[in-house]
């Protein structure tokens, strides 16, 4: 394991500028999280680009990455930090510290972003330009806040760990105004073209109407309440659900598909992504949680195309 500044490498911003960041969690308490970059045109994967560009380690358990206004925000959970990088050169532009166990970041406007937390009854409000904490939103009774999705001025946030609620936050007043009960452990949320929120919880997928805050329909994905990954294509009319197999369902459809779209290849699937431009599908395989994980890339019609090696426990993706 490397500590402190070491030699750095210069990455030129790729000419195609189309690519995919793969956030590798690493192992808990090992400080071996890393960032990989896959250039979709050339097929080149560059691993460990964060330490190579900056000479410092990404830290412990990298959770998620979001690109906003030309900057990449990488949330490193167990290090309690958000690193801000230039997505072209991977160079560090700044960092936001003072967080306990940050999970995801959501941009409300140019000067305000929310950061969820695994071990705190509050959402942290940050200034994404000044890289400072500007406030917080108390979430009494909900220690774990996870994913966020915004509809008009309302932010919906899932309460994941040992919880079953989605909280509604007024982004103008930064206060919790309502909550919606769903199944256990709600995690991923996404907004479709019909302005419906889809949320994965306890082996089920919930379709929620954000206007009247009611659950419209529940689709059963698996009977054993296992975790589902949820993604959507660019036109927001098609859902992709990873739960052992990959399932694909039209957002307008009223029944869950009878057959999977891509069958499990006996892997420990650890992440899912759908290219917003081309609808290519990426599935992360953690293999044994110790060796570098694999990424399987599929055509929009589900034909496998590439198999790549990323870092340890590749769990989150971010398209450039």
């Amino acid at each position: 394991m490397k500590y402190g500044p070491s030699e750095t490498e210069a990455f030129l911003p790729g000419p195609s500028s189309k690519g995919l960041f793969i956030v590798n969690e690493g192992n808990f308490m090992y400080g071996n999280a890393s960032l990989s970059y896959f250039d979709t045109q050339s097929g080149i994967v560059e691993n460990e680009v964060f330490i190579r560009a900056n000479g410092i380690n990404l830290g412990d358990v990298a959770q998620s990455m979001t690109i906003h206004n030309g900057l990449g925000y990488i949330v490193v959970n167990n290090s309690g930090v958000i690193f801000v990088i230039d997505p072209g050169t991977f160079r560090l532009k700044g960092n936001i510290t003072g967080l306990i166990s940050p999970r995801h970041i959501h941009f409300v406007n140019e000067n305000k972003a929310y950061v969820t937390d695994l071990y705190r009854e509050r959402i942290t409000v940050i200034d994404p330009v000044k890289y400072t904490i500007s406030g917080s939103i108390n979430t009494p009774g909900h220690r774990s806040t996870e994913e966020m999705v915004q509809w008009k001025n309302d932010l919906f946030v899932s309460c994941w760990s040992f919880d079953n609620k989605i909280l509604v936050i007024d982004t103008q007043t930064d206060t919790v105004t309502d909550s919606i009960e769903v199944g256990n452990q709600p995690s991923r949320m996404i907004l479709d073209k019909n302005n419906k929120i889809w949320c994965a919880a306890s082996g089920e997928i919930y379709r929620i109407n954000p206007e009247n805050r009611t659950v419209e329909k529940i689709f059963t994905v698996s009977d054993d309440a296992t975790y589902s990954y949820l993604e959507m294509n660019a036109s927001k009319d098609t859902l992709y659900i990873l739960n052992r197999d990959v399932w694909r369902m039209a957002a307008d459809h009223e029944t869950f598909p009878s057959q999977p779209f891509i069958r499990n290849r006996n892997s420990r699937y650890y992440g899912l992504a759908v290219d917003p431009a081309t609808s290519h599908i990426y599935i992360a395989d953690a293999i044994d949680y110790v060796q570098p994980g694999k990424i399987y890339r599929y055509d929009p019609d589900g034909t496998p195309v590439d198999t790549l090696t990323a870092g340890i426990n590749p769990g989150a993706f971010c398209f450039k």
């Binding site: 050339s42 097929g43 009319d237 029944t255 694999k294 019609d301 589900g302």
Partner: protein
């Protein structure tokens, strides 16, 4: 390809009758019917011997009748359709909901997989790869049937990777022997090739730029000069549904380039179409005299385009600058309406791979690393292969100018390929071209006094569902100066 539209017309008429004739006009307040498939893209993959039950949900389908069309023919009028995967291949179904006031359709593609042994397609230069030390070689083979496949890269008997893509760079010079294999439960395939790392590598590359025409070897029009072309010099189509086909395509097992050229010539003499296949396929013709650039229209190139079935071909011209009577000088493109202003990619190249088994899709990879297939459409064109029989190489590359394809599936379920404004062969009924539109490879205008050779090349990379790939078809090549 468009010839199928002819079959389609009686069918449309039949559907109109099916939907009933109400003499008066009624006001319909219902929205158009919506068809919702379980699979949003309507693409299903099946193993041989399996069945697929399709039961689309229909909204606003009150009093509607249904029709299932397989490759354009009605196969059922029920709301549910059961497909049996008896033969491998790609099948196109259209589900139509016909209400008195409106008909809507949705395309469904069913891929029936054959026995899924992996097959590797990879363009390996004849003498292997040559690279300089410390440069990077990205090796990205196409693997067919790679569901649940595992990969293995071996260099000089040492395992180096289990990914599908391998990025090779070394500071060490010398010869490296590569082996790449793909394996799944059904079987395996492997390729072997060498990479030579040497300081001398890659120096011979240079962008061949056409020299400015000399204008020295002008051949004036004689009394017996003909407007029509007089020699076909080359015919190198991309793979396509009419290539090698004996029916509409008119092939009879041509196995050499000479035979293929004879075929193309005979077809054109009889005013029958010659298909250039998918992107980059071309034909080269010459005349018994030079064609003069008078600033107006000088060339007439006829295709088989009709309304909304543009399959644009780029026209190139060449002057016989060295006077040897052969098209070995420099090609200049005649620009069309998309240049400048539209999305035009010059030096776009596609490599097509010879299929391993009869009745297979043809895989391709372009110079951006994007892969795809020319689909095998067995229901219409059942020749063994769409890859030209006379091309013995395992792959070949076609380079040209690529326009953005405009085809789309209309609401009513038919494929539309609207024409470009001007300047492309097989685009619309306007089949005339000006030598004054000639441009350099940079797209700058160039003044050509006269030309001796013409090349027509398919100028889009696209496909239209069950109609298949977009391919330029040519029926005539003439000196328009002698006609006008």
């Amino acid at each position: 390809m468009n010839m199928k539209k002819n079959l389609y017309i009686p069918l449309v008429l039949m559907l109109i009758f099916l939907s009933g004739c109400n003499g008066g006009r009624e006001l319909f307040t219902l929205p158009a019917p919506e068809i919702i498939l379980e699979d949003p893209d309507g693409i299903y993959t099946l193993k041989l011997g399996n069945t697929l039950t399709l039961a689309p949900q229909v909204r606003y389908g009150q009093d509607a009748v249904y029709a299932w069309l397989m490759d354009g023919k009605t196969v059922s009028t029920q709301s549910v359709y059961v497909f049996n995967a008896d033969q491998p291949g790609t099948y196109y179904l259209t589900f139509k909901v016909i209400r008195q006031d409106i008909t809507v359709g949705k395309d469904i593609r069913i891929d029936v997989e054959r026995k899924a042994v992996p097959a590797i397609f990879f363009a390996i230069p004849e003498k292997g790869f040559f690279i300089k030390p410390d440069s990077t070689l990205i090796l990205r083979p196409i693997v067919e049937n790679c569901q649940s496949a595992t990969y293995l890269w071996i260099i000089n008997d040492v395992e180096v990777s289990r990914d599908s893509i391998y990025q090779f760079n070394t500071t060490q010079t010398g010869l490296f022997n590569f082996c790449f294999s793909a394996q799944n439960s059904e079987g395996s395939d492997e390729i072997r090739f060498s990479v030579t790392v040497s300081e001398q590598a890659g120096n011979e590359e240079g962008n061949k730029h056409p020299e400015a025409p000399t204008g020295k070897y002008f051949r004036p029009v004689q009394d017996n000069s003909r407007a029509d072309w007089n020699v076909i010099y080359d015919y190198r189509p991309a793979p396509g549904q009419f290539i090698n086909e004996s029916g509409t395509g008119g092939f009879s097992g041509e196995k050499t380039l000479q035979e293929a050229i004879l075929y193309a010539g005979e077809r054109l003499k009889n005013n029958l179409f010659v298909s250039l296949g998918a992107f980059g396929g071309y034909i080269v013709a010459g005349f018994d005299h030079s064609i003069v650039n008078d600033g107006g229209y000088n060339l007439q190139i006829e295709g088989n385009a009709h309304e909304n079935s543009s399959e644009p071909g780029i026209v190139w011209v060449m002057q016989d600058s060295n006077g040897n009577g052969l098209p070995d000088d420099g090609w200049f493109e005649l620009r069309g309406s998309e240049d400048p202003g539209g999305k035009v990619t010059r030096n776009y190249s596609i490599t097509y791979f010879k299929p391993r088994q009869p009745g297979s899709n043809v895989h391709w990879i372009d110079n951006n690393g994007i892969t795809g297939t020319v689909d095998y459409l067995g229901a219409y064109h059942d020749q063994e292969s769409y890859y030209p029989l006379w091309i013995e190489d395992e792959y070949y590359t076609l380079i040209g100018t690529c326009l953005e394809s405009r085809n789309y599936l209309s609401q009513t379920g038919s494929w539309i390929s609207p024409p470009y404004e001007w300047g492309y062969a097989d685009n619309d009924r306007q089949a005339l071209f000006r030598l004054s539109d000639a441009v350099t490879p940079e797209g700058d205008p160039i003044d050509l006094e006269f030309i001796d050779f013409v090349k027509i090349q398919t100028g889009v990379n696209g496909k239209s569902g069950w109609l298949g790939e977009i391919s330029t078809e040519i029926t005539g090549i003439r000196d328009y100066n002698l006609i006008k």
